[in-house]
Amino acid sequence: MKRRLFACIVLTFAQAPLLGQNCPTKPAETPFQQVISSLNDRFEWYSAYAQEPDPRYGTDFERRVRNLGGGLLKYDWPLGGLYNLHLQPGYSDRACISYGRVNPERGPLFYGRMNDRTDTSVWKGEGEPPAKTVGLFTSNFMEKGDDPEVQIVLESTFDGHAYSYSLKNTGPTSVRVAWHHFEVDLFEQLTVSESLKVEVGRGGQIIQSVESPPERHSEDSLRELLKRAKTLERGQTTAARKESTASAQLIMTNVDVGSIEGRPLAGVVLPILVPGQ
């Protein structure tokens, strides 16, 4: 049985959407946006906010970067809280957050291999925490071929008070999902125990290497793992939330996906945020 790795990962690092995360559908004013065309890259950055702020969570903001070019795009947008080393052509990275009152800011967006930069304007929440203290990862992986298509979205967020996790099956079929960090079953850790006991020390060593797998399962062990794995129906979301004010630390986790019968379909290594030591 062949086990294919992901065909595509869209990895987004963004500022935390507090609980009322919504992407605005109708921007209140003309959104800030610009298409940047250089010799090597072509992309669009975009920043907007929703017309009617949520009284509980504040204004909804949306920021995104779309690669309009023919090759992979590298960019770092500190003000927008987004970066990507390999944004695929035609794909977008998007961050949606809800935070306070509207406050425009200006700052650079760096792109390409040689530190090219462009000035941007961003709608932000007044007093919005800096990107380094809060974060959202949205990772999609899709597998196409003879096997059923698999689409899983993993979100990990930290809003300064709590860590939230959600894993959603956005694919067309039900699947079994095993989610591990080394030997720790994250479904069990995050939904059963009161405190998060993930060993961040080992994961912390690979913070800079977001695609370094913490472990590899053999075919046999993977089959056994998937037989005991959690079933995610089509469209189903499993979520967990842990209260903690400890600063966030990035760890790598294995997400292995199989068919309902336990046949391995796809696997991917995805980062999540956990409370630091």
Partner: protein, 149 residues
């Protein structure tokens, strides 16, 4: 007094090698004489520390193993010049490599990662060579072993 200062300088020969090393770090974070994307600066810094440390130690080792030449250590000077020129060539190589990588419009993230690592290494190599060159060009302690004329 002057002699004591000169002797002190001779014992800190490695300091000269640290100058390009520090310049490399400054270039990475403060100015961008040699530009590199902020996303690769962490990796570049790590490689810079390893390569420059190795280059300085290698140069010190070579320098100390070379007998004192009464005519002025021509061998070390030649090697120092060669290392400096190699650094310049690698600097041009860095720009050429990045231009080539940009032209290819890579589609594969895996291949792109390989190119990222190669870019970071090429970014660091000139600084490492210049560190090596500076150590060899520096003053040396007088040793008992000399070349017989």
């Amino acid at each position: 007094m002057l002699k004591r200062i000169i002797d002190a300088l001779k014992t800190i020969q490695a300091v000269q090698g640290v100058v390009p090393f520090v310049c490399g770090i400054f270039n990475n974070f403060l100015t961008q004489a040699i530009p590199i994307t902020p996303l690769l600066r962490g990796l570049a810094l790590l490689i810079l520390i390893v390569f420059c440390t190795y280059a300085i130690l290698l140069a010190l080792s070579f320098s100390n193993d070379t007998p004192i030449d009464p005519t002025g250590n021509a061998k070390l000077r030649r090697r120092s010049c060669a290392a400096f020129i190699c650094g310049l060539i690698l600097l041009f190589g860095y720009f050429a490599f990045v231009a080539y990588a940009n032209e290819r419009r890579l589609q594969s993230p895996v291949l792109d990662q390989v190119v990222d690592v190669a870019q970071a290494v090429l970014f660091v190599l000139p600084w490492a060579f210049w560190s090596y060159a500076c150590v060899l060009a520096g003053p040396r302690e007088k040793r008992a072993r000399t070349v017989s004329s």
